[in-house]
């Protein structure tokens, strides 16, 4: 998995940065029942008052992602749009939006809170949306016979989000996107869909364009909160089992969810069902998970029978295997033990 490899190289500090704070802001983009059942969904904020008052107002839109590399939890795509003239002044100068990886979890959380609170300048001028791709759907798509890879899933999520915002009547003039794969090809693809919009696809767009930075904050905070939600069922179950042993309440034992995080790999090892692996929060298509489940040291080797055309019966339904010791079949049984009875 070339895509995840870059994330493997994180040092401890980055892991700290990636770990969601225990008091992460539960944004309205968190739909608990969907997350717990492993469903993917989209969330759209209402159109902000400044734009709603004058739908012809020219807007700029940024898209970014969070949670591409982790083995646990969903991947979140987020977009944010606002009137073009406010991009620099409101986002960069007033609120110091920056790449979500540079901002501390606390700052990200409070920025998101402002964005979602009525009567703030951010709420009045910025609209946003998120698409949450659940770990279950990501791995199901990646492991399907005709593979639907992560990049394609990511692109489709992005395109679907933008389409929906345009359908609401927002007059988007410029789009900035952090790249997926090669910027040129991605940009061409998008320009073919929206020929009249000025589209910029760039590497590290989240540190170059304030609107992408703001989108990355939406994505990151949603991802963090969603990961917390994924953990809830495990938290209650461990508490019931052994109330004393749980380390500091609220602590998430599985850490950041990145394969390189020792807490994540330890948790995966300790909580693996030998047959079914983990719950819907885990990306089974990640090599970390695959190797644990199917690797050489797997506890149980499960052979999932190949599916047939549905109405067929098999030979093994009629004829039984000749179970017996092969050597016995060749040479026959020993009789000495029975002899001793006499």
């Amino acid at each position: 998995m070339a895509d995840t490899r870059e994330d493997m190289q994180m040092d401890m500090q980055e892991i700290e940065q990636e770990t969601s704070p225990s008091d992460v802001f539960m944004a309205p983009s968190i739909h608990k029942p969907d997350i717990l059942t492993g469903k993917s969904y989209s969330h759209f904020s209402p159109i902000p008052s400044q734009i709603a008052d004058d739908m012809s107002k020219e807007c700029v839109l940024g898209v970014d992602e969070a949670g591409r590399g982790p083995v646990l939890g969903p991947m979140v795509y987020a977009l944010l749009y606002l009137p073009i003239e406010l991009q620099q002044s409101l986002l960069a100068d007033t609120h110091h939006f920056n790449d979500s990886k540079v901002l501390t979890p606390q700052v990200r959380s409070s920025l998101m809170r402002k964005l979602c609170t009525r009567d703030t300048d951010l709420h009045a001028s910025c609209g946003w949306a998120t698409r949450l791709l659940s770990a279950r759907d990501i791995s199901a798509n990646m492991l399907a016979p005709n593979q639907y890879n992560l990049n394609a899933q990511a692109m489709d999520a992005t395109i679907a989000l933008i389409k929906e915002v345009l359908a609401k009547g927002v007059n988007v003039k410029e789009i900035y996107i952090d790249t997926i794969g090669r910027p040129e090809t991605y940009q061409k693809k998008l320009e073919r869909i929206w020929p009249t919009i000025q589209i910029t696809v760039a590497k590290k767009a989240d540190s170059l364009y304030p609107v992408v930075s703001a989108a990355s904050v939406c994505a990151k905070v949603t991802r963090d909160a969603a990961l917390d939600v994924c953990y809830e069922p495990y938290q209650t179950s461990t508490e019931n089992e052994d109330a004393v042993a749980t380390d500091a309440k609220g602590e998430i034992v599985w850490g950041s969810g990145y394969p390189s995080d020792a807490r994540t790999s330890t948790w995966l090892k300790a909580n693996m069902d030998p047959v079914f692996g983990w719950g819907s929060e885990c990306r089974f298509s990640w090599s970390t998970a695959k190797e644990l489940l199917e690797g050489k040291n797997a506890d149980v080797n499960v052979e999932w029978p190949a599916e047939d055309d549905g109405n067929g019966l098999r030979m093994t339904d009629f004829f039984k295997g000749e179970d017996g010791d092969e050597l016995v079949d060749w040479f026959g049984m020993r009789v000495t033990e029975e002899m001793e009875v006499f």
């Binding site: 190949a306 067929g312 098999r314 030979m315 009629f318 039984k320 295997g321 000749e322 060749w330």
Partner: protein
């Protein structure tokens, strides 16, 4: 030590040709009674069972039970080097790494020799119980091949119904339907064209034509083919070979295809 000499290489050529599309790798189990093979296709819907009795070989010698794990694709490649009427000798040690094939031309002194590397094949062996079938139909193998081929153009499956009136092969497809009726038929001059139906109770079963067409690749082995049917039991398609040797195919019936 195994040494088995076939008068005609064509026998093994035809057998391998008939089964190589169903089974990729399989064990040839050799013991003093002959050489046997049993294997299922990947989806476990069909089973091949071959028995070449020691009488089919001249001479036949097998001191110890050995299993020769052979890739049928490799075997096909080597058998292509044999002429149909070459004599073929199979040889193997008691704990063999390779099986040795010698082809001797009948009309010249040409001798060719090939070794095929063996493989370890872990194969599930199924016990096939002796079954009293409700209906046994013998018909020319070319006729059966034609029926399967013609109907496979219309549908994926065929129902075989055997009753007092005879046997009916029936299929329903997107473009239409087709059916072929056969009655008992005796041809004194050409007994290979006989159709014999031996029935104790009526049966009706549905099978995948894809597999039947595949089985029919064995038509060249025998002028007649025997179909044995009982309700809720796999179909047996048997091609008889010399000296009670046989090539049998079993096919699981389809269910829920009636309505």
């Amino acid at each position: 030590m195994l040494e088995a000499r076939l008068e005609q290489a064509s026998l093994l050529k035809k057998v391998v040709d008939a089964i190589k599309d169903l089974v990729q790798d399989c064990n040839f189990d050799c013991n003093d009674s002959g050489i046997a093979l049993q294997a299922m296709d990947n989806s476990h819907v069909a089973l091949v069972s071959m028995m070449l009795k020691s009488d089919a070989f001249q001479p036949f010698r097998c001191d110890r039970n050995i299993a020769l794990g052979i890739n049928l694709g490799s075997l096909t490649k080597v058998l292509r080097a044999a002429q149909n009427d070459d004599t073929l000798t199979l040889k193997a040690e008691d704990a063999p790494d390779v099986v040795n094939l010698v082809f001797e031309a009948t009309d010249s002194d040409r001798i060719s020799e090939y070794d095929i590397k063996l493989m370890d094949i872990d194969q599930e062996h199924l016990g096939i119980p002796e079954t009293e079938y409700a209906a046994t139909i013998s018909l020319p193998s070319a006729e059966f091949q034609r029926i399967c081929r013609d109907l496979s153009a219309l549908s994926e499956s065929v129902s075989i119904e055997c009753s007092k009136e005879g046997v009916k092969f029936n299929c329903q497809g997107d473009i239409g339907s087709g059916s072929i009726h056969l009655r008992t038929h005796t041809n004194v001059e050409k007994p290979e064209n006989n159709v014999e139906i031996d029935m104790t109770e009526p049966v009706s079963l549905t099978f995948s034509l894809k597999y039947l067409v595949n089985f029919c690749k064995a038509s060249g082995l025998s002028t007649q083919v025997k179909l044995c049917l009982s309700n809720e039991v796999p179909l047996l398609v048997e091609y008889g070979l010399v000296n009670n040797s046989y090539l049998r195919f079993y096919l699981a019936p389809k269910i829920g295809d009636e309505e």
